[in-house]
Amino acid sequence: MAQRDIVRTEAVVLRGLDYSESSRIVTLLTRERGKIAVLAKGARRTKSKFGATLQPMAHTQVVFYYKPTRSLQMLSESSHVSTYRTLSDDLLKITLGLRMVELTDALLSDENPQPSIFELLVAVLHRLDAEEERPRVLWPFFQLRLAEALGVAPAIRRDRVEAIDEVGWLSLADGGVYPIDARPSTARKASRTALRAYAVIARARLSAVRRMHMEPEVHRTVQELVDAYLRHHFDESIPDRCRTVLAQLRDVAAS
């Protein structure tokens, strides 16, 4: 007889896909079962019991029936654990939040529980929701922390950071920064200011990183360094659908 468990767990909605006239397939990052796809019957109906709980980025408590023989589990209940106040009212915040869930979806394999990644995503989304002044820095912060949780933490050494003069290198292989006369094999050159900011983001706590102030030019360089580092390690998996769309949104969102 096929085994059937009832699973009750916290989750963040990564994405949804309309399926049939009334249902949706929703990809969740759950605390206890990792990334999992569930079928939410009736979710497209106006009076669906799931309400707004299946929107991407939603932080929820879900109940589903788990059958190991199925690739799609049946969602039974979903309710908010916490709701966001400003996240869905701001184009920049929406796009940053969507990039986070998209990257999480792309880099995590199915049904491989990683509670630390779940905690990270929840914490950063809530920080993004509450952030008033500098939400942008949360994106490279999230990228580097996710990389760390997946086993490729940037190897930052204080003495090397201190040794950088005007310009230095980011090693794409180990994510560390190096002085100009110690060039690693695959490296990006950048200014001392940008490399120091990168090193801070790579090690800072969430509560500290939000107090960082970077000039737009420095922020752009740091973002390029982080993108290059992630591409170096996860190349094929890095989604670029969001990136192209966000490039179109950027001009308006920046204003």
Partner: protein
Amino acid sequence: MQFTSESVETLVEELAKLPTIGRKTAQRLTNHVLKMPRAEVEALASALVDVKDQVMQCSTCFVVTDQDPCPICSSHRRSRATICVVEESSDLLAIERTGDYNGLYHVLGGVISPLDGVGPDDLRIRELAQRIDPSFPDGPSGDGAPDAPSSDAAPDADASDTDAPEGDDAPEPVPVEEVILAVNPNVEGDTTAYYIAQLLEPFDVALTRIARGLPIGGDLEYADEATLARALEGRGAV
């Protein structure tokens, strides 16, 4: 299961390409077609072909229509100062069925969905801005902020004009005063609404969004917090 007849198999395959139709449903539909009288099958087949041959998009509002401009855009009875923005032609029909709206429409052809790779350049958003200010630039965005709206974008129209009987002459253009965003209440709808709001900010036009909240017949007790918060936010005088 494969069918032994090649033409049956072809029909199943073609039907299964349609959205929300899986192979099993396609097989059921195919079995049904096999039992239908020949005249009905011919009517279905020609309806499918006609829809491609005869249906076009209105060059103003982009609704699916048989004539350009569409009956709504060419009507003298509709208020031309209001544009209701919808995702698809089917949403336009849903609003028309209420009988409560007398303005014009603009069909975006979808919503901004970064997770699906759909951006503003894939939709009729620039065309919307051009209906509000004809000097709004063509071509992909990224070449900076839109030009400031010209004060005399369109001549003022006589108010009695909207009540005039329909004729062959096109209705006089009227400056747009209100844009109503009737996009779905979800993340993609939010993204689209905020994008359009920022894009239209330089223009002298009121921007509203249809209320989001509880469905009629719904129950407060069972509403989720996000929906309830929206309903409170969008509360109105009794």
